[in-house]
Amino acid sequence: MDKLPRWADVALIPVVNLVLALIVSGIVVTLIGENPFDAMMIMVNGAVGSTYGWGYTLFYATNFVFTGLAVAVAFHARLFNIGGEGQAQLGSLGVALVCLYIPWPHWTLALPGAIVGGALFGAAWAAIPAYLQARRGSHIVITTIMFNFIASALLVYLLITSLKAPGMAPETARFPEATYLPTAQDFFAAIGIPFARTPLNVSFIVALIACWLVWLLMWRMRLGYEIRAFGHSEPAAIYAGISPFRITMVAMLISGALAGLMGINAVMGEQQRLLQDNVLGAGFVGIAVALMGRSHPVGVLLAAILFGALYQGGAELEFETSVPREMVVVIQALVILFTGALDGMVRGPLEKAFLRYRKQPKPGVAAE
């Protein structure tokens, strides 16, 4: 069977999916008595209409890049890591420990330290399900989702016992000021451009570098070649002398480490202390981001920005209109539904349409 041209696969289908999601969202918004076009304008303006909007959009996007890359790397090894949430929580813990207990003189040193801490903790949390999958055949979907709950419970436990700061809230003490990451505002102020106060920080650059490194890994390095080969066909991998155990472990460790890196943005960059939940569902959004981004770093980056815009635009919508918070979640969910789960719904008819279109130039051949 013939396939779609590449541009249609990577660009047209996501766009059609997105448009369909927005149309259905529009209908829903109309049903609750709001003007869908106004709502749309508010969302777009809120997300990208100001430096404030951009700041938040890209801040959220940074989280989604990390969790999206995490899911994408595992996808390439045909491992469905839906434990990004838990791995990111553990990563947050790692970042917090590094920031709290090591006296950093300056953020430029604290950042690499936190990267190592977040990555190690995230990877360690992914290592257990990975081992269970590779050696015992316990399904990774089941174990990783279970580990999300364990991570959440573990964090709560630590935050009400050993890590708890004095006071009422279950949270750690504030990190020392030397660990505060420079924000976009600081950056732009240095070159004389006014930028609103947002949590967007240097972690965004780290996310971009992570995209590039993942691309390098998957398409330029032996390990990536082996991961992709294993993901396409396990018998072929064994034939080529690629150890399924090793690839399962390594791919999940990288995946967990990437999810864990989210902590530097959310914990070190924004809250500057560890809360009960710094991740706020980004682990799950990462799945949608990886799906929509076709597990390619560039796609993940674009999809992450889209979802960042949805988050930020949604918050604005909630603020400006009577559209309730739940409806914003509905809109986000519709996008995830259409881009992720209902991908085949658009793909099938589009493929047919392309086949028909290609056949038409030949005269005399009936369509049926």
Binding site: M1, I238, Y239, G241, R358
Partner: protein
């Protein structure tokens, strides 16, 4: 149609395209009732597409189908069954843990209670069995039957649905010669009862043996329809590929050197603890081809997998040029085997030998991606890989000659050429080859055989596993026959024949006494000699 009866099947101007590929082009064919009609052609010639159109899996872009002289629309397989067409697929569509009877009734149950239709089916089955020499125990579980028996169930399934036209797609691919003979007797019986049989195959011998008329397909077109009695295998082969081909491999007498591979008492269990190899011993010398013949599923695959480093062994030793191979530990993987000079063309190129979604150039390095020539520091040297791929594609005449195509987009023969080029050009000490020409067209078969012989002439050892006796006979310098995890004996190609090998393949060592087909089948059923 003034002359005689209307054709059982008549196709007029059938065309079918998949995207840019024209699978069938203006095909017209008439199959007369009560005949056996062969359709022969290379892989990818469009035979299966044509039959899928007839059975309602695809819709033709143009053309019409006439069944028994009446124009018939066949939008799905239900319509095909109503029109009296039955199909026996290459890969059986049976429920393994159902009985024969349950499988036959499946999808054609009547009423709410299963017992009514089972009872009716049992009666009809007995009648059919007697009529066509199609004996099979209606209460046996499918998983306990050998392939030959399973095929009979498929035929019975079609007859139970009152098929007048029976289409068989490559029916002998999984059968021993004796089983194939029995199948042919069944088909002749069906013909005598007035049924029409369409036989799709790429084996010239079968066409010559059993068909009344034969149609040849090449590149989506019907190149000829002739009476079988008025043609010859050479002529058919020429029609298939469009040029004359050598059906025999030209090769010099072997000059065997020292022992390269020495296998002693090799034992393997599968995951269920069933012994798949029960103490296999043999050796292969430099400069010779040892052919392993056998019905699929008698341990040959496991043998190749162990030697290729794809699975551990449970006992025995293997020596390569005098040094023992690690069969269980950390150095029993395929990577280590390759480093020792063992190249491996696996039995299933699409599942094992290639990554179908990788580009051709990525596949050319597959398994050898550690080679310093393909690497530059920590990064892979993709340019070097592509240059090498282009050179290999040129030398092995892979078509299309485009290293950016995905492996999936090459035909079976060209996929195999990519694998063979990759493995043979490593100049290995030992080449393991499994089913080198399965699903490969005649032109490529010839080429691949030449490459294997050239490697052997260069003084390398070759272990060939094939279920095609022709291939074993024409390539091997020695032949070992496997049955039920054991080697039944070794023969020399010049002093043996298909009959003797066929009996060994069915586990009968005393090949001089007369043997009944039933005994062969019972043996195979007992051994679980089923295709996987």
């Amino acid at each position: 149609m003034a002359d005689g009866p209307a054709p059982a099947i008549e196709l007029r101007g059938i065309s079918k395209a998949f995207g840019a590929v024209q699978a069938n082009k203006d095909i017209s064919i008439r199959v007369m009732p009560g005949t056996i009609h062969g359709i022969i052609g290379e892989n990818g010639a469009g035979k299966s597409t044509l039959m899928s159109i007839l059975y309602g899996f695809y819709r033709a872009d143009a053309g019409e189908i006439l069944i028994a002289g009446r124009k018939t629309d066949i939008p799905d397989s239900q319509a095909a069954i109503r029109a009296g067409i039955g199909m026996v697929f290459q890969h059986f569509k049976l429920v393994e843990n159902f009985t024969v009877l349950e499988n036959i009734v499946l999808g054609a149950e009547e009423g709410v209670l299963l017992n009514t239709s089972l009872g009716k089916a049992r009666k009809l089955l007995r009648q059919l069995s007697d009529e066509y020499e199609l004996h099979v125990d209606p209460d046996a579980l499918i998983e306990d039957l050998g392939v030959g028996m399973q095929q009979r169930v498929e035929i019975l399934k079609a007859l139970y649905r009152q098929a007048d036209i029976l289409i068989l797609d490559e029916p002998t691919g999984v059968l021993t010669p004796a089983e194939a003979d029995h199948l042919f007797r069944i088909l002749r019986g069906l013909k005598d009862q007035g049924k029409t049989v369409v036989l799709i195959t790429h084996k010239l011998r079968e066409i010559m043996e059993i068909t009344d008329t034969v149609s040849v397909m090449r590149r989506g077109q019907m190149t000829a329809t002739v009476r079988t009695a008025e043609t010859s295998p050479e002529k058919l082969a020429e029609l298939m590929v469009g040029r004359k081909v050598l059906l025999q491999v030209d090769k010099a007498p072997p000059r065997p050197g020292e022992v390269v591979l020495k296998v002693e008492n090799l034992r393997i269990h599968d995951e269920q603890g069933v012994e798949r190899l029960r103490g296999v011993s043999f050796d292969v010398r430099a400069g010779e081809v040892l052919g392993i013949a056998g019905v699929a599923g008698n341990g040959q695959s496991e043998l190749l997998e162990v030697l290729g480093g794809m699975r551990p062994a449970q006992g025995g030793t293997v020596q390569l040029t005098g040094e023992a191979l690690d069969l269980t530990g950390s150095r029993s993987d395929a990577r280590t085997r390759r480093a020792r000079g063992i190249a491996h063309v696996p039995e299933d190129r699409q599942r094992e030998g290639l990554i179908m979604d990788f580009h051709a150039w990525e596949n050319v390095g597959f398994g050898y991606h550690d080679d310093p020539a393909y690497n530059r520091g920590v990064l892979m040297d993709n340019d070097a890989l592509r240059r090498d791929a282009e050179a290999k594609i040129a030398r092995f005449d892979v078509r299309p000659a485009d290293c950016w195509q995905k492996a999936r987009n090459f035909s079976g023969g060209n996929q195999q050429k990519i694998v063979v080029a990759r493995e043979i050009e490593r100049d290995p000490v030992l080449l393991l080859v499994g089913q080198p020409t399965r699903g490969v067209d005649i032109g490529a078969i010839e080429f691949i055989h030449q490459q294997i012989v050239a490697l052997r002439d260069a003084g390398r050892a070759v272990l060939l596993v094939s279920v095609e006796l022709d291939e074993i006979l024409s390539l091997s310098d020695r032949i070992a026959v496997m049955f039920d995890g054991r080697i039944m004996g070794e023969r020399l190609p010049d002093t043996t024949d298909e009959r003797e090998l066929g009996l060994l393949m069915a586990g009968i060592t005393d090949t001089d006494r007369p043997v009944a087909t039933a005994e062969v089948e019972a043996n195979l059923a007992r051994s679980g000699g089923k295709a996987r």
